[in-house]
Amino acid sequence: MGVDLPYKLSAIAELTGHEDRAWNVAWNPVKPLLATCSADKTVRLYGYSGIPTPTFSFHTSISTDHGKTVRSIAWSPSGETLATASFDSTIGIWQQKGAQDEDEEVTAGEWQCASLLEGHETECKSVAWSASGTLLASCSRDKTVWVWEVQPDCDFECLGVLMEHTQDVKSVAWHPSEEILASASYDDTIKLYLDDPSDDWFCFETLKGHTSTVWSLAWAPGGRYLASASDDCTVRIWKRVAEHQWECVCVLEGHERTIYSVSWGMTTTKRVSEEGGEPLGWLASAGGDGRINIWQLEEAPNSTVNSPPKYELISCIENGHGDSDINSIVWCPRAGYQDLLATVGDDGMAKVWKIEVA
């Protein structure tokens, strides 16, 4: 890039071990643990320690009982439970043996499958926990989104099967505070769902605008905005303009191939523009072109209900995983580590990046 950007990304860890493409990476929201999953059907866990620049080390590997690729993983808000979505059409629920004991170290017992959720007819693509941890959503190539209720003893009851998409559902994401669910699809749309207390879960909004598959969704930390990443090489920002209404307010360009992943983080090092708008955090995107883009978003000082946020590309790095596609990019949500990003790629590797003033 010929332009000098104000921030730079430095790789602080390169974690190898997967024997095939790595699809997804997830930071434990409570403990110093990073999880990755792969076409090799395993989940790998890495521990880290040290401030401000932690060092990472291999913790353990869960071989999983999945018969096919583990496509995505999600930590419950408590950090105790890990969910895996597999191409074998099941969702695995994993807990660490003896983890309930007091003063248990992270290095405690083995990870065991506490539950296996069956119901999807074809490959599961994504899984997500609601903010309270009481609901789980899953989606599949079978075009459905399932909402599950978490019950005691790792029992899961299906509350609804949402058949709104006309194609493959690629991703599900819960609103950060409300029980609103978003799903992204191969049918180029995003759908938003709510629970009707007297009836079932239902779709209240379809977001159209992308011209190809929508691969990934990220809610803004405050929940007023939603970002979506697409095969059309754009990231769209959708803004809540009414209680149950979102509108596309801007389109971010800056990728040359499919964008597979987008993540919205609230970094501690906030850089405020001269106009001094309200900070909306940093958005990271990555995909088939191997490029990582970081945008800073800010509420415009005189913003109206549907005015777009101000955005600025603050950092960019090419070939983040060499020649490989980057399949997932995620900001660390833990206090003190919010300037860290994790990525995984077709090279089977996980990398951790630190963003710093250039």
């Binding site: 096919k68 690729t69 490959e123 693509k125 095969d231 191939r257 490989s324």
Partner: protein, 165 residues
């Protein structure tokens, strides 16, 4: 099934090129430039999934002028022409081309595969499926599909030479 499974395991991954495979090897320090003819050479002898005794070249499904290579952008575009506009095997043909190139081309190349514009009744759907790497990855974990693909790819190493020497 056991033997086949073992083969799969030995292969390690359908995506990674193998040592001893007849792939185009890039020199350690030097980027080897490739052209459309070399890419054509890699895929011309893939067998047609329906007419197993015929190659994609013989059925005019693939041809050198339908291949575009950019060494600068590390990009390969392969266009192919299904034999009939409603050809149900188009995705399998496209997949066989994709797997062959994944195994043989240097990793730096991103490959797009499309049917010739106007040559298929579900052109958009076929193209979208062939270029969705998640759908491709899932298809390659399906034993029935990989069995067909491996059969089609057995002849790929002939690179235009006749079947029996």
């Amino acid at each position: 099934t056991w033997t086949r499974r073992k083969t799969q395991k030995e292969r390690h991954s359908l995506w990674l090129s193998e040592e001893g495979d007849d792939s185009i090897d890039a020199d350690d320090n030097e980027v080897e430039l490739i052209d459309g003819d070399e890419v054509f050479d890699l895929i011309r002898s893939i067998s047609d999934p329906e007419h197993r005794s015929m190659t994609l070249e013989q059925l005019a499904v693939v041809s050198a002028p339908q291949i575009t290579v950019s060494n600068q952008k590390n990009h390969v575009m392969v266009e192919f022409t299904p034999t009939v506009p409603h050809c149900g095997m188009s995705t399998v043909i496209g997949l066989s081309i994709r797997v062959r190139l994944l195994r043989s081309l240097p990793n730096r190349f991103k490959v797009d595969i499309k049917v010739k514009p106007g040559s298929h009744t579900s052109e958009h759907a076929v193209n979208k499926q062939l270029n969705d790497k998640e759908r491709v990855a899932a298809a390659l974990e399906n034993n029935a599909i990989t069995e067909v693909l491996e059969t089609c790819l057995e002849s790929a190493g002939r690179r235009g030479r006749p079947a029996d020497i």
